[in-house]
């Protein structure tokens, strides 16, 4: 897949984008800081040895005791036999205590709120929260103010992310100008500027003709189109899942059908256009089944879900708890079980936190008026580990959904342990018990319905580009 990636901007300069099988995967996120010169590398490239680790690489299936060496921003070497005779002098050593050392998490659905709503979150605060959660790459939605629908804004977000120095930041760009659902954006130029994929964020592209043309145009450059799967006219006015609970609470419901209608429509557009299409945060049994059938027919359709769709159901709304207000809404228990099945059988390719910071002014409101969304960067790892601890998935298989799978979907050089690859790493204890406590969140917003939930598994140390960005103190 990565071989098909192009760097279209180079075309005008008369260069041919590398497309051969040997060419390295294009870094869809655009240029990073230029590599230091050879002399500079000798002088400054810090080396760190991670010893006594359980090396976990979901991409290759590696799960073995061993050690790993980073040099500068890259992984220099790793393997079971490395440093068998001890670590040479002059190399900083991290004793992993037999805990898991894995590629850092790639979170393919994050709202950073910058620019425009810095009182809820900033690229800096989200980066700190990410580091604490073991997330080393965030892909952010374009629903900021202004909307990321222009190459200059793509460059702004990338540059702010680099300056913040936390997790890597790659933006989505909007499918339609101003997220208005009418006119498509300059997808080719936006991609060349560093947009990794295209989505209208928290709203669906409702108009079928607009979506068809956008998919068709995106296929020119083999770009990924990501859809918020909800038919807006059917969901209009709704605030939670439609069913007994919404009826008892007297809230307008959103039927599960609103999701599958949009997915089914789009799958037919995929058949017309051949575009690569990804369903974001699938939440219903029928939605998963629609994707499963599309995959069985060989269509380029993928999807992800978020931990709340397999970790919670509509009863979390309880007595109008606005922290459990989401879009799409938390669904019925049967839907929750179908999401677990979808993750297990691989229909659901990836898991993303769906991080959506909201301040108190947006949540301390009557349920119908409250903004949807929960934060998730710091709880992604323990919540997905529930699937492992409950016996649903082997650890490596599960980790793949938050590392190499989303990285491959987006054409990112991330999410894998690879010599010469970026030293984006998380050291975590998969079994460590703790209780989620919203007072300890580093995120600027605290809206999580998981507050107080006992979980197992926690990030102990996080490195981005070889640089340690987080060490757990307790």
């Amino acid at each position: 897949m990565t071989a098909a990636k192009k760097l279209p901007l180079e075309f005008a300069a008369g260069h041919q984008a590398p497309t051969g099988p040997d060419s390295p995967p294009a870094k869809a996120g655009g240029p990073k800081a230029p590599a230091p010169t050879a002399d500079a590398r000798v002088a400054s490239a810090a080396r760190t040895a991670y010893i006594d680790a359980r090396l976990l690489d979901p991409a290759s299936g590696l799960d073995a005791p061993g050690a790993l060496l980073t040099e500068g921003a890259e992984i220099a070497d790793f393997g079971p036999g490395l440093f068998a005779d001890g670590v040479p002098e002059g190399i900083e050593t991290v004793d992993c205590g037999a805990h898991c050392l894995a590629p850092g998490l790639v979170d393919m659905r994050v709202q950073l709120r910058e620019p425009g709503e810095e009182h809820k979150e900033t690229i800096m605060t989200a980066g700190r929260a990410a580091a604490a959660g073991g997330v080393t790459t965030m892909i952010c939605l374009p629903n900021t103010t202004p909307v990321i629908d222009d190459a200059a804004l793509v460059e702004f977000v990338i540059s702010r992310g680099r300056k913040a120095g936390g997790a890597n930041v790659y933006p989505y760009a909007a499918i339609t100008q101003g997220l208005e659902g009418k006119r498509m954006t300059e997808m080719g130029l936006l991609h060349a500027a560093g947009a990794v994929a295209f989505t209208d964020g928290t709203q669906a592209v409702a108009d079928a003709l607009v979506m068809r043309r956008a998919m068709s145009y995106a296929s020119t450059f083999d770009l990924l189109i990501v859809q918020h799967p909800e038919e807006p006219s059917l969901a209009a006015g709704g605030h939670m899942n439609e069913g007994e609970t919404s009826t008892r609470l007297g809230l307008v419901g959103i039927p599960a059908a609103a999701e599958v209608i949009m997915i089914e429509r789009d799958i037919r557009l995929v058949e017309l256009t051949g575009a690569r299409y990804h369903v974001a945060h699938v939440s219903t049994a029928e939605g998963v089944e629609a994707v499963r059938r599309a995959k069985a027919r060989g269509l380029p359709v993928t999807c992800d879900t978020a931990p709340h769709y397999f970790g919670l159901n509509e009863t979390a709304v309880g007595e109008y708890r606005t922290f459990a207000k989401l879009s799409p809404p938390l669904r019925a228990e049967t839907d929750r079980q179908a999401i677990v099945e979808g993750v297990k059988d691989g229909t659901i390719d990836a898991i993303a936190s769906d991080h959506a910071p909201q301040d108190q002014e947006s949540k301390r409101l009557p349920f119908a008026q409250a903004a949807p969304g929960i934060i998730g960067l710091e709880t992604l790892l323990p919540l997905i580990l529930e699937l492992h601890h409950n016996g649903h998935l082997p650890l490596a298989d599960l980790l793949r959904r938050v590392t190499s799978a989303p990285a491959d979907l987006l054409g990112l050089e991330a999410g894998a342990l690879r010599k010469g690859g970026p030293a984006d790493l998380v050291l975590f204890d998969p079994d460590r018990p703790w209780k989620i406590d919203d007072k300890r969140f580093l995120s600027k917003s605290k809206n999580s319905p998981f507050d107080g939930r006992p979980v197992q598994g926690q990030a102990l140390r996080t490195a981005v580009g070889g640089r340690t960005v987080f060490i757990r103190e307790d």
Binding site: F11, K182, R183, M184, L189, T220
Partner: protein, 323 residues
């Protein structure tokens, strides 16, 4: 050029499209046009072949160059040429076409030159009149004289059509010029590519005998002819393509993209040119590469040839048989 001999080389009452013509018929028209091309460069440019004949330009859609080209062609052959512009925006189109045709037919013209914004409208009109009809462009369907003048231009420069590699680039979806050229070039044994974003290429176009390319580098590789199509600006702002800027960046013809084609590749454009949208100004004006003015010149010659070929069938037994 005996105006009264039955024309067995081109036994048609109308010229409605390229589709359905034979290679021999196309060669006949091009050979005839070639003689007019030279004639038009001579000092005396008036013949009397169409003396006493009435040619009507009936345009339901704005046009300057095509209408003028037909007008000059008709006049040089000695005919009386009348221009009619019909604004059809406020009238029901189907009725108008037939009503207008019946009315004009009653005035006994010999040839109607018709342009209409709806595909198929010219053929519909041709069924209701007793005179000859030449299609000057119907919707996104056909523009036969444009394809013929393009072919004449290519043949004069390259000496042949067979075996040439032709890239037709841009808004093929809405283009009657593109479709007529695809038909003609296929009939004449050229290889045809279409190049553009999928939003501007109609579905199933590959079934018309073309290779489909979505980027200019592969689409133009080793081409003998680069044929650019006009992209109307109102289609550029996020509807079919995101913007003029992006369209030009990826699909506009500039020297960097042209480098993929053969060094002696010709650049063609049916006009009017959107400079900086589908083609760079310098490229469009490059007299060593661009044959855009020559296409216009060939247009008059081709239309003279078509008028001659069609009217030669008048007042003969063939008229009824070929209808």
């Amino acid at each position: 050029m005996d105006g009264n001999a039955p024309n067995r080389a081109f036994a048609h009452r109308h010229l409605l499209g390229i589709e359905g013509l034979s290679a021999d018929e196309i060669i006949y028209l091009l050979d005839l046009a070639d003689t007019y091309f030279e004639f038009n460069r001579g000092p005396d440019r008036k013949l009397d072949m169409l003396r006493g004949r009435t040619v009507m330009n009936l345009f339901f859609e704005d046009s300057t160059r095509t209408r003028t080209s037909f007008e000059i062609a008709g006049k040089r052959l000695g005919g009386d040429v009348i221009n009619m512009s019909v604004r059809n925006s406020s009238i029901k189109k189907g009725e108008t076409v037939i009503d207008t045709a019946m009315t004009l037919n009653a005035m006994n013209p010999d040839v109607l030159i018709v342009r209409h914004p709806d595909s198929g409208a010219v053929e519909l009109l041709s069924q209701k009149v007793t005179c000859s009809v030449i299609n000057a462009g119907d919707g996104s369907h056909e523009h036969p004289t444009q394809a013929l003048l393009d072919a004449l231009t290519i043949r004069r420069r390259k000496g042949r059509l067979r075996g040439l590699l032709v890239a037709i680039c841009g808004d093929v979806l809405h283009s009657r010029v593109g479709r007529s050229n695809i038909h003609l070039l296929n009939i004449m044994g050229a290889r045809v590519r279409v190049v553009g974003p999928p939003t501007l290429l109609p579905p199933g176009i590959e079934r018309m005998g073309v290779e489909v390319h979505h980027d200019m580098a592969s689409g133009l590789a080793d081409c003998d002819i680069v044929m650019m199509l006009r992209l109307q600006t109102e289609r550029m702002h996020g509807i079919f393509v995101p913007s003029v800027r992006e369209y030009f960046h990826f699909f506009g013809l500039d020297y960097a993209k042209l480098a993929a084609a053969k060094p002696d590749a010709l650049i063609m454009h049916p006009g009017p040119v959107n400079r900086g949208a589908e083609i760079d100004t310098e490229v469009a004006d490059d007299i060593t590469r661009s044959v855009i003015p020559e296409q216009v010149e060939a247009g008059v010659a081709v239309r003279m040839a078509c008028l001659e070929a069609i009217t030669r069938n008048h007042s003969t037994e063939l008229e009824g048989a070929a209808a």
